[in-house]
């Protein structure tokens, strides 16, 4: 476990000192802050019912569609692709630590770091509450729970894309493309009456976020869906790493 925590700490530290990450954070906070201000200032519905902030910020609002699929792969590209590109993967994987521990430590570091992103959004709600606004905390907490689960999934796809090779563009672009596929494909096929429609409706992330979590409902199916899919992509990243050991 010592090696595992050493790697996890280094990854968190690596993210904390990367200037690029602060650009991402700044952009994220700026857009969320602007959206938050806009909703409170111009959206009469939101002014009357503050519970509607949750679907906009954690559901299928513009920010979720724009930022959530693209930001996690930008964070995860450094986890494996960057190591491969600069040549530090070999010293890491020949150290006395298992490949699975490497993948999980790196993934968990990215997950913990992404909490800072959502922490900033949570701070906006706390600020609002500090001014005495009557916030429906249950709805906000459930909405944030959905956004966090979705982030876990998108970080896992990003990690998998990062394991493909040493090309950072491929790692970021591939991860974002995968995330958009996971978001859009179910929307495209949800009205199909056959099995494809059934699958699309079962994997409909915008519905899960909008009608489930952001409405204050924590659906165990959705929780399982996000966690299982995230585990699958982490597993695939591990498979990609150990594939070098497969004897031809």
């Amino acid at each position: 476990m010592r090696a595992f925590f050493a790697l996890w700490r280094r990854e968190v530290h690596g993210l904390l000192v990367a200037p690029f990450v602060y650009l991402l954070l700044g952009f994220w906070f700026l857009l969320n802050g602007l959206m938050f201000t806009y909703l409170l200032t111009y959206e009469r519905e939101v002014q009357q019912d503050l519970g509607l902030l949750a679907p906009y910020l954690f559901g299928s609002g513009l920010l979720v569609w724009l930022l959530l699929p693209t930001f996690p792969p930008l964070l995860t590209l450094r986890l494996l692709a960057e190591e491969r590109r600069i040549g530090t993967l070999e010293p890491l994987l020949t150290a006395p630590i298992g490949d699975a521990a490497v993948v999980i430590a790196k993934y968990l570091a990215a997950c913990v770091f992404f909490l800072i992103f959502w922490g900033g959004v949570a701070a906006l709600f706390l600020l609002l509450a500090a001014f005495g606004a009557p916030l429906p905390w249950g709805t906000v907490a459930a909405g944030m729970c959905g956004a966090l689960l979705c982030s876990l999934l998108f970080l896992a796809t990003g990690l998998w894309a990062s394991s493909w090779g040493g090309n950072l563009l491929l790692a970021a672009g591939g991860g974002a493309a995968l995330n958009y596929l996971l978001l859009f494909l179910p929307v495209l096929f949800e009205h199909d009456e056959g099995w494809l429609g059934a699958v699309a409706r079962a994997a409909h992330i915008p519905n899960m976020l909008d009608r489930g979590f952001s409405a204050g409902l924590i659906d165990s199916y959705a929780v399982t869906y996000f966690l299982a899919l995230a585990a699958l992509f982490v597993y695939l990243a591990w498979v990609r790493l150990v594939s070098r050991r497969w004897v031809p």
């Binding site: 000192v17 600069i86 040549g87 010293p91 630590i97």
Partner: protein, 332 residues
């Protein structure tokens, strides 16, 4: 027990062991049937041209790749079945060693010490000792990316030595070093061997190998083309070294006679004539004796008769050329 806290099995007299190692990449055979052992206190050098299989062998022994067939072990731990334990006994310096450029040397080495399982206190002690040994104290606060190639190699070696492992694998450790640094590295390898470590390293720099290694393996096309101590290899080669005959005159006539069957009778092959010098390659144990008699029989005015001096450079070239010739002859 080393500071890393990992016990070395008492049976590990063969610290690094390869038994009929073979590595295939699709149709390409990178390493074939390679067997050797390195005992504690011994330095074994791998020599060979590019693509001979040196780095592939070291990567198999480091646990990066598995062998396609054969077995390898470090300190008695099989790399295929017990890779983690084997890697705990190992310090490995890859050919192009790199660390994250933004990390300070001390941060990197601290992280690597923890990764290798050292507790905080031991890590600090070992880091200090290794930095002092490799002259890194004044570079500890610098980012890795700001270091010269020579200091990067030192950081790589410091990383390999951190857990005080009993076995060391060093892939081209002299690459990019200036002459003084090379000298320091050579001394250090000898000291490490004297401390009981088993050292396996690869190099293209022949004089370095000649200076440091107790034994050599010359790799060619993934196979061991020659192996032994430098003295053994030189003695073996001395029997095959080119024969040089310096004459007072008449070299042209003798050359013609040799070409017309004289060389075959002496079991030699005529290599060249340079003025009044004839160069021949012996093709049998008694070739030198036969040639001498043949020359005496023709009343040749021989000023000097002997074998060309053999150094590691010549030996290396000879092994490579013989290997290439043998490979060409086996091609249908």
């Amino acid at each position: 027990m080393p500071d890393g806290g990992f016990p070395v099995p008492q049976t590990a007299s063969k610290m690094i062991r390869a038994d009929r190692l073979t590595k295939r990449f699709g149709p390409l055979v990178a390493v074939q049937d390679l067997s050797f052992e390195v005992v504690p206190g011994e330095v074994l050098g791998f020599l060979g041209p590019n693509g001979a299989g040196k780095s592939t062998t070291l990567r198999i022994l480091s646990g990066w790749w598995p062998a396609s067939s054969g077995a390898a072990s470090i300190a008695g731990h099989d790399l295929a079945r017990d890779s983690l334990r084997a890697r705990r006994q190992l310090g490995y310096l890859p050919e192009s060693f790199m660390a994250a450029p933004e990390l300070r040397v001390v941060e990197y080495l601290r992280f690597r010490a923890r990764l290798k399982g050292l507790d905080r206190r031991t890590a600090r002690t070992r880091l200090g000792a290794v930095a002092e040994r490799l002259g890194l104290q004044e570079r500890l606060r610098q980012p890795f990316g700001a270091l010269s190639k020579g200091f990067r190699q030192r950081v790589g070696l410091a990383d390999a030595l951190l857990a005080d492992p009993p076995a060391l694998l060093l892939d081209e450790p002299f690459g990019g070093l200036d002459p003084l640094q090379r000298q320091d590295f050579r001394k250090l390898l000898r000291v490490l061997a004297a401390e009981g470590k088993a050292v396996l390293f690869s190099s293209h720099v022949l004089p370095e190998v000649e200076d440091v290694a107790d034994r050599l393996i010359v790799l060619l096309h993934g196979r061991s083309a020659a192996s032994g101590t430098l003295a053994e290899l030189s003695a073996h080669l001395a029997r095959e070294a080119p024969l040089r005959v310096r004459l007072a005159g008449g070299a042209e006539a003798l050359e013609a006679a040799l070409q017309e069957g004289g060389a075959a009778a002496c079991r030699c092959a005529l290599l060249s004539r340079r003025g009044q010098e004839l160069w021949l390659r012996p093709e049998a144990e008694d070739a030198a004796r036969r040639l001498f008699r043949w020359l005496a029989g023709r009343d040749a005015a021989v000023l000097e008769f002997g074998r060309a001096p053999v150094g590691l450079e010549e030996m290396f070239r000879h092994v490579i050329e013989s290997g290439e010739r043998a490979a060409a002859e086996t091609v249908p």
